[in-house]
């Protein structure tokens, strides 16, 4: 009972953050809602090497008069190397197709390097992820640094058994920069997940993004409804 109360508090808090973000967005009349479906496939080679392929779509729900339904699609391939049981080094490549073509070009190449540190608290998991990205377009080159703190907790007992639900939450700070500008973004995320087995799980969640909070001028608000299907070999 105590445990259930605890995760309910977390859920309410995060729901409050998302609702607060949405209220802010609505108050400013700049509602920007995106549906983000994703499919991910991961596999391991021995104990140290792991790989992941991911396909993500961004589908606009609002402002369809100004933009297409499908804004962009991303395909990603990444590898990770286990330095220790808790520490993973990773790197990967992502290609993003844009529609309409931003700056007249079809897409973006993105290189990623990251380190992840996971702490296991029984069957709960706390994950730090520090990532550097280089976003390369024909017309621009932007660096982005990201730090994300994620927490995953079983919702039905202390252990996450097959068929049970879990809560996945995270908060992330991002800084983008090139020679001429610097921009910031903050993200909070809460998802309800269903763990079928070590090979299959699904998450449905909400992510709120606030862009350029530290800059002068309007803050950009974005609300994403996410669905992610994770497959592992």
């Amino acid at each position: 009972m105590r445990r259930m109360s605890w995760w309910l508090v977390v859920l309410v808090l995060l729901g409050g953050v998302c609702a607060g973000g949405l209220a802010e967005v609505r108050a400013q009349g700049t509602v920007d809602v995106i549906v983000e479906p994703a499919v991910s496939y991961s596999w391991a080679s021995g104990d140290r090497w792991g790989y992941i392929a991911q396909l993500v779509g961004f589908m606009a729900v609002t402002h369809l008069e100004d933009r297409p339904f499908l804004e962009h699609t991303e395909a990603q391939l990444a590898a990770s190397y286990g330095l220790g049981v808790r520490t993973k080094l990773g790197g990967g490549y992502l290609y993003r197709w844009d529609d309409p073509l931003e700056d007249g070009y079809a897409g973006e190449h993105r290189l990623m390097q990251q380190v992840g540190i996971v702490t296991y608290l029984g069957d709960r998991r706390l994950a730090h992820r520090l990532r550097a990205e280089q976003r390369i377009r024909t017309s621009s080159y932007v660096n982005r640094w990201r730090y994300r703190l994620g927490y995953e907790v079983p919702l039905q007992g202390e252990r996450l058994d097959p068929g049970e639900a879990y809560l996945n939450t995270s908060a992330e700070a991002l800084v983008s920069f090139d020679r001429d500008f610097i921009g910031d973004e903050s993200r909070v995320f809460a998802a309800l997940g269903w763990f079928f087995s070590n090979r299959r799980k699904v998450e449905v969640g909400l992510q709120y993004r606030a862009q350029d909070v530290l800059a002068e001028g309007d803050v950009g608000h974005l609300l994403l409804i996410t669905t992610a299907y994770y497959l592992s070999r």
Binding site: M1, S42, S197, N198, E203, V204
Partner: protein, 207 residues
């Protein structure tokens, strides 16, 4: 409709249909643990717990099924330790586990365990250590928990009618072998059992 739009719609459909199927069990043999109230415990288990109620500061209760049988577990805080008390479906005590720091293991036993770990792994970090008490026969279970929680710190473990073992979890590596392991040592520090802990993929936390 472009091919890309078709792909993304298929992505959405795939995730939504998987969500709809969420309640269906994938494996025929499912281990499931759920939190329960004290009133759902068998009477015999409640009787054992009532004997130590005066020294218990907090308690949570769980019901576990593995597709073949049912068991119950009480997680207790008492005398500065966390205790896990497992019961059979009938309420008979199965075992008691006490979460302890490594230096509470008697010196010679600790040294033998360390030698054992060093022979198995190039590097290791112990993440969880439990002292496990299993009743030597059915009748001993009734008083075991009471004996454990009410005895003095310097009382001899040999006075208990229980089999003592040490169950440990370790993050360890040895060449290309890297992972988390559960290791069980007997009261003299000899390795009795070793198994790998299979953890869930980190795909949703790191990507």
């Amino acid at each position: 409709m472009t091919a890309r739009r078709v792909i993304v719609n298929l992505l959405l459909l795939a995730t939504l249909s998987a969500t709809a199927a969420a309640q269906e069990a994938e494996t025929p043999k499912r281990e499931v643990e759920r939190s329960v109230g004290a009133d759902e415990l068998p009477g015999a288990a409640l009787a054992v717990l009532e004997e130590v109620a005066a020294v218990v500061e907090a308690a949570d209760y769980y019901r576990e099924t593995d597709g073949e049988g049912v068991s119950f577990e009480a997680k207790l805080q008492a005398r500065g330790y966390l205790w896990s008390v497992e019961f059979f479906e009938s309420g008979r005590l199965m075992n008691v586990e006490q979460l302890i720091p490594f230096d509470e293991i008697p010196g010679p036993v600790r040294a033998r365990i360390e030698r054992g770990l060093d022979s198995l792994f190039a590097r290791h970090t112990l993440t969880r250590i439990q002292r496990q008490y299993t009743p030597e026969d059915e009748d001993d279970g009734e008083d075991l928990l009471e004996d454990l929680l009410e005895r003095e710190d310097d009382d001899d473990e040999e006075d208990l009618d229980a089999l003592v073992r040490y169950e440990m979890e370790a993050n360890a590596r040895n060449g290309d072998v890297l992972g988390a392991f559960e290791l069980t040592f007997d009261a003299d520090g000899r390795l009795v059992q070793q198994r790998r802990i299979i953890r869930r993929p980190l795909d949703n936390l790191l990507y």
